[in-house]
């Protein structure tokens, strides 16, 4: 009968190989022995024969005792040296491939590249070593402890995550070189998707027959709460899932109580200003420290020129804000930068903002029927009358005259009734918007859904019309005043926004995901929408004329008769212009881009915050047009772009800011699961889970043996001493 005996293969090694050097200490007793032999003295002796007899009688015993003591003492030092070297023993079941090489392990280093990993560069309590530097050192330490046949992979958790070394390699130095080469993006990693990415990469790797079957994932991160919390809020925790599939070692980096001041926000009241107007910007700072911070200095600069500084006190774990009033000297784009003194994390101590300053505002009002929308005209030009409002240069044209006009003269075109726009006019307006113009569309009496559906209006407006609603008094929903259009009315209930009479409105469908609702109607759809088309923006007023108001003298619709109409239209103008600047005030990771009017490939130039210049070639958009796109915006700062549609040689600034942490800057507690093994800062850890257990047992056994031998040695030495005495 044949019995199948499971074969067990052992892999042994040392977690701290260099500690084996201590075994050399075993030579000390031997060296002492020889040293003492050299240090002998000479004596003339009378009883030499007696001495000789004694030595002859005792020689066997003496030799035995000496060798025994020397052996025990040497053994004590050897065992102690072995224990210091932290040996490990791994048992591989017979399921493993017993062929040489199966002992190799695949080390997958997953490193968090969130911007908080840069913390510590100016921090004395972290020994001037950033968390990223710590991550490199820890990785290096783990690699040094790996076996000679082990393979390595490197995955960075970012936004998006990436695998700089995706194919298992035995060239461990590549891991360190790649880590050193990495530049930390000014973004927080998308941890849930990152961990999912790691799982998918590992699944693919497992399919590779050449890759080691034994995989161990080492996760290095500072585990900042705000970054990692989303990973734990998911129903299926990505970290737990990863740990359930692979042995996961976690190496937390940095200290648990970081100190940091964050310049969380820099906002201008408006992105568009007229020359001579004051630009009011507000900087918001969050104090993550456990103690209040006083006299925090916030500096502001305009076009790289320091303007002024303000100091403020911020309570612990609280927000503080400070406002500045700036005045631009020239029309055009102005770059504003606010800064805090450098602290442990410098990347969130600065924010940038681009505002535009113009001589005046050029508005074209396309009036389908003369004087039909007198109120609109008045509202557009009201800026001249209202103190503090914008100056507006309003030109009025009929739809027919529009075809012959050069639309580039105007910044905003207002059409009171979509129904009067035939296909050529529509195409012209569409071209105007795509090049960066702003369009306000009203749905007057001529507008019908049949006409709408026969044309491609949705590409311009972002929705399809269904029909006008039933006639009744619809209540305005300010949508929590989130929109910049509704915001001026917040806190002023008598301003009339909520009582604006809306008897009918157009119902819409097939809304584009990018469609914004600025003002809505209770229990119904939107009243004011905004939509980006090409480089420009289109706002739409969805109010419909009352069926009882069909006379020539009747107002455009009842909405225009209300006091709220003028500020509403002014806000609409401002929001449209501000919307255009939204593309120039972006977050890290956003794509810089725009359409060009050219129908052939051309070039654009992007100048990075560090002064480096990148040449771009425009890409086809598929509809015959071309656009330029720049994706490498992981670093915050002021970018400048020179492209055809921006006016030739003019550099257009783009501010790229990081999305700061607004909550839980401290490290998060990892779930306590057996599959997740936190490894403290000490780099000297055994390499694998089984190895870790075996190592602990081995070390314990060795230390116990050392203790026993010490005891035995003492007893034997005492016993021999007694015999000698």
């Amino acid at each position: 009968m044949t019995m199948l005996v499971p074969r067990v293969f052992l892999a042994a090694g040392f977690a701290s190989l260099w500690m084996l050097a201590w075994i050399a200490a075993a030579g000390i007793p031997i060296a002492i022995h020889f040293f003492l032999r050299r240090q002998q003295t000479k004596v003339s002796w009378a009883t030499i024969e007696l001495l000789r007899k004694v030595i002859e009688q005792e020689s066997k015993r003496l030799r035995f005792e000496q060798w025994l003591l020397l052996l025990i003492r040497t053994l004590i030092l050897v065992l102690f040296g072995l224990a210091l070297a932290r040996p490990y023993l791994e048992a591989l079941s017979s399921k493993s491939d017993p062929v040489a090489g199966t002992l190799a392990k695949l080390w997958v280093f997953v490193v968090d590249t969130s911007y908080t990993m840069a913390y510590g560069k100016n921090n004395s309590d972290e020994a001037d070593e950033s968390r990223w530097q710590q991550a490199i050192e820890k990785t290096k330490a783990r690699i040094e402890e790996s076996g000679p046949n082990d393979n390595f992979m490197l995955i960075t958790l970012g936004k998006p995550s990436a695998a700089p070394i995706r194919k298992p390699t035995r060239e461990s130095e590549r891991i360190i070189t790649e880590l050193k080469r990495q530049q930390l993006p000014h973004q927080r990693a998308d941890i849930p998707s990152g961990l999912t990415y790691v799982s998918s990469i590992l699944e693919q790797t497992k399919q590779n027959p050449a890759a080691p079957k034994k995989i161990e994932v080492v996760l290095l991160s500072d585990f900042v709460g705000a970054t990692w919390q989303p990973a734990f809020e998911q129903n299926e925790n990505a970290l737990v899932q990863l740990a359930s599939k692979y042995p996961l070692k976690v190496i937390p980096l940095g200290n648990s109580r970081p100190t940091n001041l964050v310049l969380q926000d820099l906002q201008a009241e408006s992105s568009h200003h007229l020359l001579g107007e004051e630009i009011r910007v507000t900087a918001t700072i969050f104090n993550f420290n456990s103690r209040p911070e006083s006299n925090v200095e916030v500096s502001i600069s305009l076009n790289d020129q320091h303007i002024t500084s303000e100091q403020l006190d911020i309570p612990a774990q609280s927000l503080g804000s400070v406002s500045f009033q700036l005045k631009a000297e020239d029309a055009g784009f102005n770059r504003i930068t606010a800064s805090l003194p450098q602290d442990n994390l410098t990347v969130d101590n600065q924010r940038h903002l681009v505002v535009e300053v113009r001589d005046n505002r050029r508005i074209l009002f396309v009036e389908s029927k003369k004087d039909e929308t007198r109120m609109i005209r008045l509202a557009l030009s009201a800026g001249d009358l209202l103190e503090g409002a914008t100056r507006a240069d309003v030109t009025i044209l009929s739809p027919i005259d529009l075809l012959a006009s050069n639309l580039t003269e105007w910044e905003v075109i207002v059409c009171n009734d979509l129904g009067y726009l035939d296909r050529p006019v529509f195409a012209q307006l569409q071209s105007f918007v795509e090049r960066g113009g702003n369009l306000v569309i009203g749905l007057g009496p001529a507008t019908t859904s049949a006409m709408w559906n026969s044309m491609d209006y949705e590409t311009l407006l972002g929705f399809q019309l269904v029909q006008a609603s039933a006639e009744k008094l619809w209540n305005i929903d300010p949508l929590e005043y989130q929109s910049s259009i509704a915001k001026p009315f917040q806190g002023f209930p008598d301003s009339g926004l909520l009582t604006t009479p809306i008897f009918r409105h157009w119902l819409i469908q097939n809304e584009h995901p990018g469609l914004r609702r600025d003002i809505g109607l209770v229990d119904s759809g939107p009243l004011v929408t905004r939509f980006q088309s090409g480089n420009g923006w289109v706002a739409c007023l969805l109010s419909a004329p009352s069926t009882n108001d069909s006379s020539a003298e009747s107002p455009w619709n009842a909405m225009a008769t209300w006091p709220s109409f003028v500020p509403l239209m002014q806000g609409l103008m401002q929001s449209l212009l501000d919307s255009q600047l939204e593309d120039q005030n972006l977050a890290c990771g956003d794509v810089l881009g725009g359409q060009v009017s050219s129908t052939t490939p051309s070039t654009a130039e992007v100048i990075l915050p560090n002064g480096e210049s990148k040449q771009l070639t425009t890409e086809s958009l598929g509809d015959g047009g071309y656009g330029w796109f720049f994706y490498q915006t992981q670093t915050s700062g002021m970018y400048q772009v020179k492209a055809e549609h921006m006016g030739g040689d003019r550099l257009v600034p783009y501010s790229i800011n990081l999305e700061p942490i607004t909550s839980r800057f401290a490290s998060i507690s990892l779930p306590k699961l057996p599959s997740i093994q936190p490894i403290e800062s000490s780099a000297n850890q055994p390499p694998g889970e089984p190895a870790m257990k075996a190592s602990n047992h081995l070390i314990q056994g060795l230390l116990i043996a050392v203790l026993v031998l010490l005891l035995v040695e003492s007893c034997i030495a005492w016993y021999f001493g007694q015999k000698i005495g």
Partner: protein, 298 residues
């Protein structure tokens, strides 16, 4: 220190030269501390009177003569006048050993004792002779009670020192052969020879009815073995050297040395001989009276 004791202190004696003066100093101290001489014969037949000398036994003073003449005389009996003593001094190389803690070598210590005892014996008008030996008898000074005998003692002891191997068996055999009648033999030696042959020689002396007193002289280092680091021991008397760690064998050595002393004492006791072990570091004020007192008791 008692005035008389300073004469027995080895350190004091070591500072005195030559040997004659050193011995005289020792004897003066010795005599002042003794009330009677233990080295005497035993007989009931009166022979003669002799004048009292310090150290004589006051019990032997003839008080009747004193009453008549106002002078002290001792009664001497027939056998008492026939005391014949030979002092044998070992002058082999091993006797030259002197440990770190000793002021006198074994030979110097033995010479002192030999002179002192000779002085005592001659002063009692008994006959004392001297034998020095190494591997053989080097000098034989026949016994005499002449006062000039002491000068011969000193001369022989000071001039006859050689450094060769000892052969105690041969020497004792030769000595026994030369002596015609039973004699008191005082043997001063470290006894470093083959134990069995020594034992045979002692038996031979006892068989010839000689009265043997063995004064076994040794240095304290030879017994204490006070070495604490690896040491090369160079053998005296042309014996090869050996190297060892004294700490490891000290116990066994001391044990063996003590056993050697016990064996010697046992052999002597078996032959009705007296055995005294003398450390060269010890004061003769303790050693000599002890020896003499022991003889007196016997």
């Amino acid at each position: 220190m008692n005035k008389s004791l300073k004469y027995f202190d080895p350190e004091t004696l070591a500072s005195i030269r030559p040997l004659g003066l050193r011995a005289k100093t020792l004897v003066e101290g010795l005599v002042s501390g003794l009330h009677r001489s233990p080295l005497r014969g035993h007989s009931a037949e009166f022979a003669q009177h002799r004048e009292y000398v310090p150290g004589d036994d006051l019990r032997q003073v003839d008080w009747k003569v004193y009453a008549r003449s106002d002078r002290y005389y001792l009664k001497q009996y027939e056998d008492e006048t026939n005391l014949l003593c030979y002092i044998l001094v070992d002058q082999s190389e091993s006797m030259h050993y002197r440990g770190k803690n000793s002021h006198l070598s074994k030979l110097e210590y033995a010479q002192l004792i030999a002179c002192a005892l000779g002085h005592l014996i001659v002063s009692q008008q008994d006959q004392a002779g001297l034998v020095t030996y190494t591997s053989q008898i080097e000098h034989w000074l026949p016994a005499s009670n002449s006062p000039a005998q002491l000068d011969d003692f000193v001369q022989i002891l000071e001039t006859s020192a050689t450094q060769t191997k000892t052969n105690l068996t041969q020497v004792l055999s030769d000595t026994a052969g030369r002596l015609q009648k039973p004699t008191l033999l005082i043997l001063l030696s470290d006894m470093l020879d083959e134990f069995e042959s020594v034992s045979q020689a002692l038996k031979l002396l006892a068989h010839a009815r000689h009265d043997l007193v063995l004064l076994h002289i040794f240095d304290p280092d030879e017994l204490d073995f006070p070495f604490d680091q690896t040491t090369q021991f160079d053998g005296l008397e042309n014996l090869p050297s050996l190297t060892t760690d004294p700490l490891l064998i000290a116990g066994a050595y001391r044990k063996a040395m003590k056993q050697f002393h016990r064996d010697l004492e046992r052999v002597c006791r078996q032959q009705n001989s007296d055995y005294f072990s003398l450390r060269t570091s010890e004061s003769l004020a303790q050693q000599l009276p002890h020896i003499l007192a022991s003889r007196a008791r016997s």
